[in-house]
Amino acid sequence: MFRITLCLICLSGIAFGKGRISFHADPVTENGSFVGPKIFYEKNPTSLTTDISVVVMTGGIDDPIDKLGLSNLVGEMILRGTKKKNREKFQSDLERMGASLSANVSLDTIQFSGSVIKENTSKFLALLEEALLKPAFSEKDFFELKREVLNDIKHIKNSNTRLGGLAARLEMFKGTPLEKPVMGSKSTVEKITLEDIQKKYNNSFDRPKIIFAAAAPFPESDMTESFSRIWRQFPDGVKPTKRLIIPKVPEKPTLIVVHKPKTSTGSLFFAQAGITIQDPERYTLNTGNFSFGGEPLVSRLFKTIRGELGWTYAIGSSYASIGGLSNQQGLYTISSTPSMEFTSKTIFKTLEMWRSYVNEGLSSEEMDLAKDSLVNSYPFEFESAAKRVSHKLSSFLYSIPILTPEEFAEKIGAISNRKLKAALKEKQKSEGWLIALVADKDVIAKDLEEYQKEIPKEQRLTISRIYTPDELVN
């Protein structure tokens, strides 16, 4: 199923693939300007559903530091009833017509994504309009939602793979809205009041911040008319402003441990500064990362640490690990879950392989493979109407030019190892890793001590801090 969601994961940027794939005959269209609604639409005559997305250009980055999670609660409260329909009636009407509607909050946006059986599109739009313009914001629903979100936050403690990410964020973004996920933490969510929700809604749901996107089997004019009607009812406002938060990167590899008892694997999360979605070197760095660790099965990390050494089931690297590429620099990360007895070895081997990559780049075979694969597989990003609309939407939100297939192939084709090494030197750190490990602290301490006996003191890793899971979600 293809829902219209922001295409933030695709690091190659917004570009059509090489001309081996032809695209749908009906191009994505753009309507309006700042005096009218911004709408991205593609007619998909064969579709049995209508997919709609409404994006509000505010997100976790705008939340007050002591009330992180506010945008997330606003998004969810929009789905919990209207002035005319209580939550039960709203959800029942929605689901009975064969529709779904969800709110997804990122650092930059609150996105409402919906899908409905095509015959009920009009009814769905009417309900969406009511939800966006006349949300109920009832005390009872707010109480229940807050309780649900707090339960979700506490439940993260069950997930070893997520805890490593939380620890890294806390260390590298301390004191900024990025120190916690957009869902917030126990202490920040507890502070949010219904008045905060209403105020955030009043200040953020205005014309300049709202964008519409849809893929449906109907003429464009039908959809634009509905979207325009909704848009006109919002108040005037101001365009969102950008704010860039820079992560704090350690000078040398720094190990922190999140203690979970009796783990049979270590959940590893290496992090250093990443790049923004607009970074001019994103094509080069993505191509390099593909063969270093980004692509399972063929990457250097995978082939060595899993294929050759058999230390782990999974290992990979990514520029999009904290919610996808965005206006924020985010993190570049390497994740793995080696068996406990191989965890220390995996840490040191990964660091060794990273140093080699950051200094030497890729071999010519690795570079060719990455370039061929990226160019040949890119058309999958555009295989459906919903995906094409998503890319248009992201292009607008993040001011990224849309490349033609020829331009994209040319850009990838022009990447050389010399350019990659220069980009790595400029953007990445050879030693500046924060390594968050979720594991039994006593076992890993002993394992590290044993493993490092032969390593010179100045190169040894020590555990610089031990977190409990409670500390990370509080």
Binding site: H155, L297, G310, P379
Partner: protein, 456 residues
């Protein structure tokens, strides 16, 4: 836009016929509710081919399904243990004489493959990828080569065991996974569903090259496999290529096993475990239900949707909205056949609380008819799911392959949804009374380990 309130799946027309060529037989063309035609073929060596053409984009999904999973190996006289089917799935990526270790992945990646991977389950193993359609010939060459000419190397087997042990340990660190393994062990006293697909660490480490060779030769035969293709090619091209690359393969004698008869459950079974990684309770409840081919599966499936799908589902309202759980669901499991209730409790709430609520909801189903609008909600949520899923080549290919493996009828998923329209509230009540009996269920609770006296 049109305002049409009448919702329903249009009629399903089926044309069955046989067209013979020297190398294969066309079995049937089957028309889907959306007008698309699915074609079925069979090569003379027994290989099944299911094809759904689509030309919106010049891409296609290719899947290979083998009628072999952990059930077979446990019942096989020469193996009698589990884990090899899964370990072997890993080995299928580790090279042939023509394409040595690493080459398969390298070439498929280079030609632009998307979502390439493989999975193993109790009753089947599948391999899948999507590719630009102009690379179809190359892909078939690679796929058929590893199906016929895999080179099994003991050094590589030992390395791959490390990765698989890592996979097993990662699973064991997940309390939810432990709960599910326990549920299968509790529901089944005899049938090999009670043994995990991944096997034990001891079993994985103990597999020999000879066992792997036996497994490959015995089960990876064309008459034990099916190919599913959805996307941008045509019948002539497809069958020419399939015959060219797969036509020479020889059928094998594939052992068929009789599943040990599971004794009829006469009383409720309960198991409680602790897990060092868990920070809150997990509750799983399994009620034995009939196989997917049974007509009862239709109302049972709709019953599970009523209970589980959407914000208005009964379980969400009773367990999540009340703050007792962070997640609650109910779903039909085919092979093993049971209706599974799954609840992740919120901290400070206990599995017993959730079980009382599930019992209360089940009692309501047995004593009250669900309202017409609730039935309409369940039906339309199923349709939305179908309509969204069918647009994705990979999703529809997986649906066809999975139903082929569990029932021999790849159209069964569509048939079930088509038959939903005939279900009424009385059917749902009858199903609840017939199958959701305490004496037919197994209950598994996984709890956090009790905290020792404070030690940071």
């Amino acid at each position: 836009m049109k305002k049409i309130n009448l919702i329903g799946v249009t009629a399903l027309f089926i044309f069955s016929y046989s067209v013979f060529s020297a190398d294969y037989e066309k079995i049937a063309d089957k028309k889907l509710f959306n007008g698309e035609i699915i074609s079925e073929f069979k090569l003379t060596n027994g290989l099944k081919v299911i094809f759904l053409p689509r030309h919106e984009a010049k891409v296609l999904t290719f899947q290979t399904w083998f009628d072999i999973g952990s059930l077979n190996e446990k019942l096989d006289a020469k193996l009698k243990k589990t884990g090899l089917a899964h370990l072997f799935e890993h080995m299928m990526f580790r090279g042939t004489d023509k394409y040595p270790d690493g080459k398969f992945d390298e070439i498929t990646s280079r030609i632009g493959s998307d979502k390439q991977n493989a999975t193993t389950y109790f009753y089947r193993t599948n391999y899948y990828e999507s590719i630009p359609s102009n690379q179809f010939k190359k892909l078939l060459e690679l796929e058929s080569d590893r199906m016929a000419n895999l080179k099994l190397d003991s050094n590589i087997l030992e390395k791959e065991k490390g990765a698989v042990v890592g996979e097993l340990r990662r699973a064991l660190d997940n309390p939810g996974r432990l709960a599910w393994d326990e549920l299968n062990r509790t529901v089944y006293e005899v049938a090999p569903f009670r043994y995990t697909v991944l096997g034990t660490e001891e079993e994985i480490k103990g597999f020999t090259l000879e066992e792997a060779q036996y497994f490959y030769k015995t089960f990876y035969a064309p008459n034990n496999a099916a190919i599913i293709v959805v996307g941008d090619t045509n019948e002539a091209e497809l069958m020419n290529l399939v015959v060219k690359f797969y036509g020479e393969m020889k059928p094998q004698e594939v052992p068929r096993y009789v599943m040990p008869e599971e004794p009829i459950q006469k009383k409720e079974r309960k198991v409680e475990k602790t897990h060092a990684q868990a920070t809150s309770d997990i509750l799983l409840v399994g009620y034995r239900i009939p196989a997917v081919s049974s007509p009862d599966i239709v109302p049972i499936s709709l019953l599970s949707t009523h209970l589980s799908t959407g914000m208005e589902s009964r379980l969400r309202k009773a367990l999540v909205d009340t703050g007792i759980a962070v997640g609650a669901s109910c779903g039909v499991s085919n092979v093993p056949d049971y209706l599974e209730f799954s609840v992740s409790l919120a901290e400070n709430h206990k599995a017993d609380e959730a079980l009382v609520i599930i019992d209360r909801e089940i009692e309501k189903l047995k004593t009250q008819l669900i309202k017409k609008d609730q039935l309409e909600r369940a039906l339309n949520q199923e349709l939305l799911s179908l309509y969204n899923g069918i647009e994705d080549n990979s999703s529809v290919a997986s649906m066809l392959g999975d139903y082929l493996m569990i029932s021999g009828n790849y159209m069964r998923g569509f048939e079930i949804i088509e038959q939903y329209k005939k279900v009424n509230p009385i059917d749902l009540k009858n199903m609840a009374k017939k199958y959701l009996k305490k004496e037919y269920r197994s209950v598994v609770v996984v709890k956090p380990q009790p905290k020792k006296s404070s030690r940071s």
